[in-house]
């Protein structure tokens, strides 16, 4: 039996551990679901699921990684529920061929353009690059969150970065921005 006062204490513990990661979860939700409202729904669901399984969370382990794992599970169910989602995975070999040699991306790009470019790369790759580059998870943590091998994390991350650079070069080309200027900046 869990008395009510013990339950309140437990809720406080949960909130102090989990609530600081809400913005991280929300922006990841936005990127993988493509919509703020969906992200809002899913984040609420993530916290409820996390609360229900908080007894299984080991104090001292990475709470953020645990929440992100729940987020990806919830997002998966959300897509299946609302969009009859069929995940179309592009062949990684095809992607490798499709990625042209890239030069440096232009630094005039706005945040919006960068995020739009990110949204155009395949979801599996986008998730890996977001987890590794934005949320700064280690390979092992990314592998655990997405339930894939570390080798797959590494290959997807590499290809995701190439794809992103390609997308950004297309954007830059639209502005008439060449490579030479950027090369001078980054050297």
């Amino acid at each position: 039996m869990t008395p009510v006062f013990t339950q309140r204490k437990r809720i406080d513990e949960f909130e102090s551990a989990a609530m600081p990661h809400m913005n991280d979860l929300f922006r990841m939700g936005c990127r993988i679901l493509g919509d703020r409202q969906r992200a809002d729904d899913v984040v609420q669901e993530v916290y409820l699921q996390a609360w229900k399984s908080f007894d299984r969370f080991e104090p001292g382990t990475n709470c953020k990684a645990w929440l992100f794992k729940i987020l990806f599970n919830c997002a998966h169910h959300y897509r299946r529920k609302w969009f009859n989602f069929r995940l179309i995975r592009e062949s990684e070999d095809v992607l490798e061929v499709a990625v042209a040699p890239t030069g440096p991306p232009p630094d005039q790009l706005t945040d919006k353009e960068i995020l739009a470019a990110l949204d155009r790369i395949p979801a599996d790759f986008r998730a890996v690059v977001l987890l590794a580059d934005v949320e700064e998870f280690a390979y092992k943590e990314v592998a655990n969150i997405l339930n894939i091998p570390i080798g797959t994390v590494m290959s997807r991350l590499s290809r995701a970065r190439k794809l992103l650079r390609l997308e950004l070069r297309h954007v830059a080309a639209g502005y008439g921005i060449g490579n030479s200027k950027q090369e001078g900046r980054t050297a």
């Binding site: 039996m1 869990t2 008395p3 009510v4 013990t6 339950q7 309140r8 437990r10 809720i11 949960f14 909130e15 609530m19 809400m22 913005n23 979860l25 929300f26 922006r27 936005c30 990127r31 703020r36 809002d40 984040v43 609420q44 916290y47 409820l48 609360w51 229900k52 440096p104 991306p105 630094d107 790009l109 945040d111 919006k112 960068i114 995020l115 990110l118 690059v129 977001l130 590794a132 580059d133 934005v134 280690a138 390979y139 590494m154 991350l157 590499s158 970065r161 992103l164 650079r165 950004l168 950027q182 090369e183 980054t186 050297a187």
Partner: protein
């Protein structure tokens, strides 16, 4: 790994390791070699810088997205509601369990009491067939000797409390009865007992098939066979002995002084009356000698 030479194989290897290098996932030695190569190779260094720039810009751009200001409050509210609901749900379950246990205990008590109720009903039903004066000893026989599934749960005399023993007034009657009751019946208990607030002295004999009680009860006001104008079954030396039948039981009784004495058994009616005839005089004389 040798990555230091600029260009060719060294650059290819560094290119392969750059993502992991940026990620901080390389072993210390490999990390050091990549670092050495980058210091000496402008092309790889530029590539590394571009990747770092892209990662940082992506991080900056992504972090411009903020959760709605009211989302934390909504999440907290839903968690607290779910948490308290869960706690109360557990309490509700506990209450249901407690209620179930109470019902079970109540039902158990009723069930345990059921034999007593059945016994009461049985005694009342049979006793109703008898005259009031005969009921007294009959009820105690059914309640005490028959109802307790005698002799299984009867204590031996040495296990009984003093107030449960017949006491000095009635203990001398035990050997008298032993002599008078046929030897094929064993005296298995001599005790004091009570039923419906009335107290008795009770001697019980038995063999494998039959159970015999000699019950002695102090007379109460306006109580007696003669008062009820019962017709005696026989007279033994002028002492009227009354007998009646209730179901398979025979009840014989007689009075002496302040006492009424009964012989109750599941013997055939003739045998029960014959035994009562044998007992009536000695017992009557003994009871008459008591001060009451």
């Amino acid at each position: 790994m040798n990555t230091t030479p600029s260009g060719g194989q060294g650059c290819e290897k560094v290119q392969r390791y750059l993502d992991s290098y940026i990620q901080g996932e390389l072993l210390v030695e490999t990390n050091h070699e990549v670092l050495e190569h980058l210091e000496q190779c402008p092309a790889c260094r530029a590539d590394h810088e571009q990747r770092l720039w892209l990662r940082n810009r992506l991080r900056e751009a992504s972090r411009t997205v903020e959760a709605p200001v009211d989302l934390p409050a909504r999440v907290q509210r839903s968690i607290r509601e779910a948490g308290l609901r869960s706690a109360f749900s557990r309490h509700r379950n506990l209450m249901l369990v407690a209620a179930t246990i109470l019902v079970a205990v109540f039902a158990g008590v009723l069930t345990l009491r059921q034999p007593e109720r059945i016994q009461e009903s049985y005694i009342n039903r049979l006793s109703a067939r008898l005259a009031g004066a005969l009921r007294v000893g009959f009820d105690d026989h059914l309640h005490c000797a028959v109802g307790r599934k005698f002799p299984d749960d009867y204590p031996k005399p040495e296990q009984m409390k003093p107030q449960e023993l017949p006491g000095p007034d009635f203990e001398p009657l035990s050997p008298v009865l032993r002599k008078l009751v046929p030897a094929k019946y064993e005296m298995v208990s001599a005790h004091r007992c009570s039923y419906k607030t009335r107290r008795f002295v009770h001697f019980i004999f038995r063999n494998e098939k039959q159970l015999i009680s000699v019950v002695i009860a102090p007379k109460q006001a306006n109580e007696g066979f003669q008062i009820e104008k019962l017709i005696p079954a026989l007279r033994q030396a002028g002492l009227p002995v009354y007998q009646s039948t209730a179901d398979r039981y025979q009840v014989a009784g007689f009075e002496s002084g302040q006492y009424m004495a009964y012989l109750v058994s599941d013997l055939p009616a003739g045998e029960n009356l014959a035994l009562a005839q044998v007992l009536s005089q000695p017992v009557s004389q003994y009871l008459a000698g008591l001060k009451g």
